[in-house]
């Protein structure tokens, strides 16, 4: 367990200048990724998860964006301080990235082959012929039939799932140590999503690369991640192993998210929901950014003396929350061994120390995919009711 982390993010702060003033999409984010680990960064739109990943590769448009402070250490290099020329060697070669919409990351006027070969030749000292060989091999690895012919095709000739495979092939052609996957399956259908996730897990096992998986889909997180970091309103509010997050979520936001997801085969009745909406980064509330939506703070306020609570009025409702939630923004503290949370109301929070979340954990069970040869047999079993 004395392995060194591959990537260390320390107190990252990113700001964007807008006509209405500066907004802070990422505040004090710290995260470690170990070799071969899948770390999931979870949150809703606008929580800062994508900006965090873009700032690792320094892909934030600047201006208006800038990294205010913080370190991003890859091995022993600090990425924000690296000269642009050095940074270009990191992008694609050591850290690769795949995006949500495969069409926007492929150039429509070049063939698939040209695009993969370009990346290969940029980072590896090989001849054009060898590069085409590598490109063909990487297409085969991601399960594309007849890769030699596919190399001659243009992106529009392929379906969405196929394009995402091409993007993955391109990202992996230089054997990166870290793959950043930003919502890799959100634009895909559920059966294709299963194929792509299966593929990513297989490639991860084979190459030993680490993956930073950015997603809002808790099902995808549960079945793939080793460690989960939950972001809300530009901060990390909870970090733990995937088992801990789903078994014992501590932050009221995480708890609310897990309760509000409809599950297959779950009991009927009303869904629980989190009231209110995700706050706009230009108008964050004071104190804990979650307090206007927090059911835990409301419950606690009901039994607390009046001077410790404050009344909040929104257009929809009026309620009371704890005063401390509106005045002091909680830091991320290790509230239980290996479990970090940022909420005044987590048990043992006041007695815990502020510390950086470091978790070199690997999950035990991965999703239970059936081997291709047994697939038909399993369908028969299930349809005949032999298996639940």
């Amino acid at each position: 367990m004395t392995q060194k982390p591959l990537l260390q993010i320390r107190d990252l702060n990113v700001a964007f200048d807008t006509p209405r003033g500066q907004i802070r999409p990422v505040r004090d984010v710290s995260l470690d990724i170990f070799p071969g680990q899948i770390v999931a960064l979870v949150g809703e739109s606008g929580c800062g998860k994508s900006v965090t990943s873009l700032s690792i590769l320094r892909l934030i448009p600047s201006p208006p964006g800038k990294v205010l402070s913080g370190k991003i250490m890859l091995d022993s290099r600090d990425l924000p301080a690296l000269p642009e020329k050095e940074m270009r060697k990191v992008r694609g070669k050591e850290i690769a990235m795949i995006f949500q919409e495969p069409m926007t990351s492929l150039n429509p006027v070049y063939t698939i082959g040209d695009q993969i070969v370009e990346a290969v030749m940029l980072h590896q000292h090989v001849s054009t012929k060898q590069a085409y060989g590598i490109a063909e091999e990487s297409l085969r690895e991601v399960g594309i039939a007849d890769p030699r012919r596919r190399l001659q095709e243009y992106p529009h000739q392929m379906s969405g799932g196929m394009r995402q495979r091409v993007v993955i092939a391109m990202a992996l052609s230089c054997k990166p140590k870290l793959l950043i996957a930003d919502e890799p399956t959100t634009a895909l259908d559920v059966t294709i999503q299963a194929q792509i996730l299966e593929l990513l897990r297989k490639l991860q096992r084979e190459t030993g690369m680490a993956i930073l998986l950015i997603t809002h889909d808790l099902g995808v997180v549960a079945e793939n991640a080793d460690v989960v970091a939950v972001m809300y309103a530009s901060r990390v509010v909870e970090v733990a192993t995937v088992e801990e997050i789903f078994d014992h979520p501590l932050h009221p936001y995480t708890q609310g998210l897990l309760r509000s997801v409809p599950r297959l085969g779950a009991a009927e009745g009303r869904l629980e929901s989190i009231s209110g909406a995700v706050p706009n980064p230009a108008r964050f509330p004071s104190g804990c950014k979650f307090h206007p939506r927090c059911s835990l703070s409301r419950q606690a306020a009901a039994s607390a003396p009046a001077e410790q609570t404050v009344e909040i009025k929104t257009v929809e409702e009026t309620f009371r929350v704890l005063k401390i939630c509106t005045t002091v923004e909680p830091d991320l503290r290790e509230v239980q061994p290996g479990h970090w949370g940022a909420c005044h109301l987590i048990e043992n929070y006041e007695g815990s120390k502020v510390s950086l979340p470091v978790l070199n954990h690997r999950r035990e069970v991965t999703a239970n995919a059936v081997a291709a040869e047994r697939e038909g047999a399993v369908v028969v079993e299930v349809l005949q009711g032999k298996e639940g």
Partner: protein, 385 residues
Amino acid sequence: MSFFVGVKKAWARRPCHLLDGVVTVTEMMQTTSAPLPVETPLVRVRELRTWFPIKRGILSQTVGQVKAVDGVSFDVREGKTLGLVGESGCGKTTVGRTILRLIPRTTGTVEYRGKDFFAYQGESLRKLRRHMQIIFQDPVSSLNPRMTVGNIIGEPIQVHGIAKGGERDELVASLLQRVGLDPSFAARYPHEFSGGQRQRIGIARALSLSPDFIVCDEPVSALDVSIQSQILNLLDDLQQERKIAYLFIAHNLAVVEHFSDEVAVMYLGRIVEKASSKELYSNPKHPYTLSLLSAVPEPNPRPKKTRIVLKGEVPSPSNPPTGCAFHPRCPLTREMARGGDERDTVQITSGGEPVRVLRKCVDEFPALEQKQGEAGHVAACWVTT
């Protein structure tokens, strides 16, 4: 001058000509107010087909048809929800829009309260439309950015002559309140709202004419997880209060299960399985439904279910496979073909590799038929029982 006279005459003739042999407004108003016999569904769809021609060349000759919807039948009962699930391109959205006549049908019938909906024309059709509304997926593009929220919701009320002026504004205020928004929002524009709030505005607009049938086309898939459940709960409450029937179109199986009384699964323009929500999820019969269910990631780090990862992609509806459209991807027919009689099987190419499948699946199209299990549980598959 004579030209204008001609136009005027034609214009004067038009309504009478169009209304010939068509249900009149008064007749329609009577039919809708009468209570519905128990056995008559609110909306009955039979053998609906929506084909889009593929045109090529300078003369725009039709060279083929995209069979987006190809023979779909179902009932939506009063105050109940029918869920329609399937992957992108399976035709589920086209079904919803064809039913509302937003897209012309090719063949088939749609009955609303026992009357042929396609027979309505002109004014009587316009009057009938107030009973059938739609909620769209994208709450940004479905609201006119240049209209205030009050006008967006109030326009249908005014157009249908339900109320105007102060009375209209009162109605708008009560609708806003009902969907969980502040009545003062009526003066604002759509861009001032978050995605969830915009979807609430879209729902208020759909409600403004007190419909009894609403097509919900992916109403929550563009929303954040924490907002989705708010909107689903709102739709649920409205159904309880106002006895609205929903055709709930979605690709998220967990959402559909939670929300629907009955679920139909579509694949390449056809319904391949239909059953009550509980039955379909606990006892799926079609291998496609089974694969679809098994592919949904569970929010559980120790997944119990066995995952079947389907090979290949959804084929193009312009050139669907013969027989059962699912046969090139079907794990069941492969299994049954293994070790089967040579004469009953056939070799095909799927995803670039040769596979052996049952001949029947390639040659003959399976009809929806009752399977073992609950009454009304139908599936279109040659292999399952």
